[in-house]
């Protein structure tokens, strides 16, 4: 019972982080039809920015804000400088480009910040609380993780639903030509989409790092989990990505708790394959549309 509860709660927290990462992938996929594999090292390097500030004596929250802000800027810069030239060209070029960025940012982080393991602080406790005989493994930082991901999601929903800016972004993702005819500055919307996605990615990077160790490749497996979560949700739907992230987090947590943590990545591969073979449109697709 104790182990079951602990595993489920860990899965819940992890699931929220994967959901945030999947959301970042989905935001970019919707606007530019590119899966941004470089999201992982982008999140990693912004976490290092936070760590550098915290080590320099600033508070956790200043580091946190700086990481999110640098994520925003990094996303916009990368879209403008690197991605813009291949938008609308062959898929394979864009994918290779994001992988090139993956290597570049990875190596940059290792050169600037060093490739050793460094511990990253957490603003809240990392101990669960006691209820009778049972330890509830929901830590203070876990609660913070869940709440912050939920807040970001609600903000995004509010942006897309209730603001003109969100409407313009949705329009340019839906049909660039028509949006342009209606006077939407599509290219600006795409940049903004990348920037927002990078911000959400940075958040997931910070949440994974909290109370744990960071090194240049600590996000590498997260990009896989985020991708699987996004595909579970259909790769096109933000809500689907969140549900997918949650489901994946819980199932991987059970694999880790009852089978072995070494096989988590393999389990995610199996889940990905099953989804792609049985329901290529994601778990919630209605129409049988072949896009994969």
């Amino acid at each position: 019972m104790q182990q079951f509860l602990t595993t489920a709660l860990t899965g819940l927290t992890l699931g929220m982080v994967y959901a945030a990462f999947a959301l970042a992938l989905v935001l970019i996929w919707r606007s530019t039809r590119i899966v941004n594999f470089a999201q992982a090292p982008m999140a990693m390097i912004t976490t290092y920015v936070a760590l550098a500030l915290i080590d320099a004596g600033f508070s956790y929250w200043i580091g946190f804000a700086a990481a999110l802000l640098s994520g925003l800027v990094l996303g916009a810069v990368i879209e403008r400088v690197v991605i813009r030239p291949v938008e609308g060209k062959a898929h394979i070029n864009a994918v290779i480009l994001t992988l090139g960025l993956f290597i570049v940012i990875h190596a940059l982080a290792a050169v600037i910040f060093g490739s050793r393991y460094r511990s990253f602080p957490a603003p809240f406790g990392l101990q669960g609380f006691q209820a009778g005989d049972v330890t509830i493994a929901l830590t203070g930082f876990g609660i913070f993780t869940i709440v912050s991901v939920l807040v970001v999601m609600l903000l995004l929903v509010a942006l897309f639903r209730y603001t003109d800016l969100g409407l313009m972004m949705r329009a340019s993702a839906f049909n660039q030509e028509v949006a342009r005819l209606l006077g939407v500055k599509v290219s600006r919307m795409l940049t903004l989409g990348w920037a927002l996605a990078a911000l959400v990615g940075s958040l997931s990077g910070l949440l994974i790092a909290g109370g744990s160790l960071v090194h240049p490749s600590y996000m590498d497996s997260v990009v896989v989990y985020g991708f699987v979560a996004a595909v579970l949700g259909g790769l096109d739907s933000p809500a689907g990505a969140v549900v997918g992230g949650f489901l994946l987090g819980v199932s991987l947590s059970f694999v880790s708790g009852y089978v072995g943590s070494e096989l988590v990545a393999l389990a995610s591969l199996v889940i990905l394959m099953l989804v792609l073979l049985l329901r290529p449109g994601g778990l919630f697709s209605h129409a049988a549309e072949r896009r994969v």
Binding site: I92, V95, F102, I103, V104, A110, V228, L263, A265
Partner: protein, 357 residues
């Protein structure tokens, strides 16, 4: 063109036959390559021999990847995982000083084992497109090292497996001595194994890409609908390309296990798969020569770059990270500025010059 006017008639006839037969032409290239390999391996020291061995296994894997990505349009980020499968199979055979099979047998078994795994993955991957296949193979690359950790009793866990390279067979030493009058050291022996494998693989791949099979792969890459209307079974073509490519990676892994003499999960990180992709993109997608150039850059560039980093006042650890930085930057620049890669760009420029002349 002008060759026929200058050389005597019988020779011109022979040349004509060779250039008209694809297999003969490729075998001739391979023979020429073998001569160069012997010259290079015999005239360099042990350290360089070892470097050439690693160039060989990177070249084999890159050759397989370039055929898959360049000719068939499937992007695999999982070739590091296939190399791991080949390497672990080899390592399991070379645990004792008395291996149950000769080296050639082990290489074949490692290739076949990887081929079978590749077929399983390929059947799933054949249904996927663009980013989906990249994501699935990325998951494979991240997942496979975990298997070695999980079955740490047989696969050695984090420390990995030591590989005992069997003694150099007498006949091999004799043949080399007969040709070059030099003794064979172990690293030279592995260099020879690696390059013989590379030449054999490249002849096979070059023939495949020039044959009906290769044309089918290109047709599937360029236009699925047209290919299907022409009677091509898309799934079968994709799976076949994937299987061939995975088998190459398995062979590369087998050579790698012998060259590195230890097979550990850390050797097959995501970086390896991405590095292979760099080699292929840099050289030019679909070009075997490009794959070889890419492999050479991967082998010899790090030393140069690390040296430059040292001179610029970086620490050892920082300087070691400069090489991937250069790979990544070149990969981005190649895609942005010269998507055809080194070989493709030169070929394109050559063709344009010829047309304008």
């Amino acid at each position: 063109m002008s060759v026929a006017t200058r050389v005597p008639a019988p020779l011109a006839k022979a040349l004509g036959r060779i250039s008209s037969s694809t297999l003969l032409r490729h075998l001739l290239f391979a023979l020429f390559g073998l001569v160069i390999v012997i010259l290079v391996l015999e005239s360099t020291d042990q350290f360089r021999n070892a470097q050439f061995a690693s160039m060989a296994y990177l070249g084999i894997a890159a050759g397989g990847l370039t055929v898959l990505t360049g000719l068939n349009g499937q992007l695999s980020l999982g070739h590091g995982a296939f190399m791991a499968i080949g390497a672990y199979t080899t390592a399991l055979f070379f645990q004792d000083s008395e291996p149950p099979l000769p080296v050639v047998g082990v290489l074949i078994v490692a290739t076949v084992v990887t081929l079978i795994v590749g077929a399983a993955v390929g059947v799933a991957a054949a249904r996927l497109h663009g980013p989906y296949i990249a994501g699935a193979t990325l998951a494979l690359a991240v997942a496979v090292p975990g298997i070695a950790l999980f079955f740490s009793d047989t696969l050695g866990g984090e420390q990995g497996l030591n590989v005992l390279v069997p003694d150099i067979p007498d006949w091999f030493a004799n043949v080399v001595f007969f040709i070059t009058a030099n003794e064979v050291s172990t690293s030279k022996y592995i260099g020879y194994i690696g390059w013989l494998c590379l030449l054999a693989t490249f002849v096979l791949l070059a023939n495949l890409s020039r044959s009906r099979v290769g044309r089918v792969w290109r047709a599937v890459r360029d236009d699925e609908v047209a290919a299907e209307i022409a009677g091509i079974n898309l799934g079968r073509a994709r799976v076949l390309a994937f299987v061939v490519s995975a088998a190459c990676a398995g062979l590369a892994g087998a050579v790698m296990a012998m060259a590195v003499r230890i097979t550990a999960p850390s050797g097959f990180s995501l970086t390896l798969s991405l590095t292979l992709l760099t080699a292929v993109v840099l050289g030019g997608l679909g070009s075997l020569l490009g794959a070889l150039i890419g492999a050479a850059l991967l082998t010899f560039l790090p030393q140069v770059v690390t040296g430059v980093g040292h001179d610029a006042g970086l620490s050892d650890l920082q300087a070691a990270e400069l090489a991937p930085l250069v790979y990544g930057l070149t990969m981005v620049l190649v895609i942005l500025l010269a998507p055809a890669g080194i070989v493709g760009s030169i070929r394109g420029a050559w063709r344009r010059r010829k047309e304008s002349a």
